[in-house]
């Protein structure tokens, strides 16, 4: 898909409350597809009954997922649910139903701001935010994430930087991000960068730690 159309998709379909001016009616219009799911899980044969167990195993306390009573508290306290293609409540329901493909192609985990409002309010103590993180992990692993949406690109840029240097530098992360997602932001935000620079708040020197080898050994040891 050409860059222009991806960016246009992002602006017009994700970045507005999903209830309004949807081009199509029904739930399909709500989803922003950088690459649509070809077969939506409408039939039992398309469901993956082990999906909920897979998620539960990924997350500490994840088995509480099965206790969800679908009350919708998570969706109502979520400050960003209006911008999600599947609200948290729907996401949990679809996970339990085993709609693996739809859930992993959803934008919802990448829209989540990790503010933990849902986790705190959930009457059944389902660790929803952690489930979002688990879904991100799986979708990165299986390459079902929205390729040019900012959050996954940011995640990768951030992780690469920490892996190499041990610390992150905001200005460099933003620069990388703009180049990979929307270079027009370089121009748009130049004024802010200039202001931060004058205030001495734009860290330009790239920070790094001394014992970088230690850090790499540690990361390898823990995933071995």
């Amino acid at each position: 898909m050409p860059v222009e159309s991806v960016l246009a998709t992002r602006d017009h379909e994700v970045d507005r409350p999903s209830g309004r001016s949807s081009p199509r009616s029904g739930n399909h219009g709500k989803r922003t597809r950088w690459r649509p799911v070809k077969d939506q899980s409408k039939f039992e044969a398309q469901l993956d009954p082990g999906f909920a167990a897979e998620i539960a195993a990924e997350v500490e306390g994840g088995e509480l997922l099965h206790q969800c009573i679908q009350c919708g508290t998570c969706s109502s306290v979520c400050p960003l649910s209006a911008y999600m293609d599947l609200t948290p409540r729907r996401l949990i329901a679809m996970t339990r139903a085993g709609a693996r493909d739809d859930v992993l192609h959803s934008m919802t985990p990448w829209v989540c701001a990790s503010c933990y409002a849902c986790t705190v309010e959930c009457p059944k103590r389902v660790p929803i935010t952690e489930i979002m993180h688990a879904l991100r992990r799986i979708s990165l692993r299986e390459r079902t994430y929205p390729r040019r949406f900012t959050t996954p690109v940011m995640t990768k840029a951030f992780v690469d930087m920490i892996h190499d240097r041990g610390r992150s530098t905001e200005s460099w992360i933003s620069l990388k991000l703009y180049l990979r997602t929307n270079p027009a932001l370089l121009v748009k935000n130049a004024g802010i960068a200039g202001r931060l620079f004058r205030q001495g708040r734009l860290g330009i020197t790239r920070a790094r730690i001394r014992w970088r080898d230690d850090l790499r050994t540690l990361l390898e040891a823990v995933s071995a």
Binding site: T150, R167, N189, R201, S223
Partner: protein, 311 residues
Amino acid sequence: MMATTYTYYPGCSAGGVGRAFTESLYAVFERLGAGLEELEDWNCCGATAWPSVDQRQAYALSARNLALAEDRVPGPGPVDLVASCTGCYRALLKAQKALEAATPTSVRLRDALAAIGLEFTGRARVRHPVDILLNEIGLDRIREAVVRPLTGVRVASYYGCQLVRPFATFDDSRNPTSMDRLVEAVGAEPVDWPLKARCCGGSCYCGGPVIGAMPEATMQLSYALLREASKRGADVVVTICPLCEFNLEGFQDRMAKRFGHPLDMPIGFITQLIGLALGIDERALGIHRLLHWRLPERVPAGEEGGVHARA
């Protein structure tokens, strides 16, 4: 009282947008007779980005910081690791809980730490500066040290998300009040507002207008906060998160344009507010790094020429 020195974990944003927070924190702690010493060779906590790739590695990153803190302070007593950025605070605290639990993950993390000659014995405790100011230094000591009470200044304290969630360690996750008590201690008047712990949209994940993931969503969230604060008569909003501070402060002109309502709300860090009341030099507090900062001079209600709080 004997001066305590805390191990300080500044976090990555301390070198960037959160610089004023670190500066004012050092100044305030010094004035209150508590020392801060930066943890040597600290590394990134993993934030919310690393758990999105690998949870165990994210724990390991934070675990190294905890082990380094223990390494630094000898003796059997607990080691307080003070993390100012709320993102770091939550990430480190989560790792601390993972290490303390009797799970295979904990064993694995300890083994990985042993591979680089470090050890976690359970002495390290992650603390937040607000927690230290409130529960270690104490409101009495702060009240005694105030030389320029901020009488009549109406302050809305903004807690952000990850200070009180998911772990409500020293405050309530729905209606936190710790910062309001600090605000009261320096003579200012806390503003009661319901959005004090609602997401501002500035986290790495939500993007913030500067990251550009969802500029519209972020502006809606921040605008709601600022409007509510100004409707309730706040003169200033103070926060404890570098990302929230930047997000609320930096885009007020864009929000004003987008929503057609003028916005000029001073945003700062709670430590800067406390520092001003303690009579610390503005430059040392990093006030010059803020965009909209100003404090009104106000005669309190009840005195001659005084203004009523909800005037």
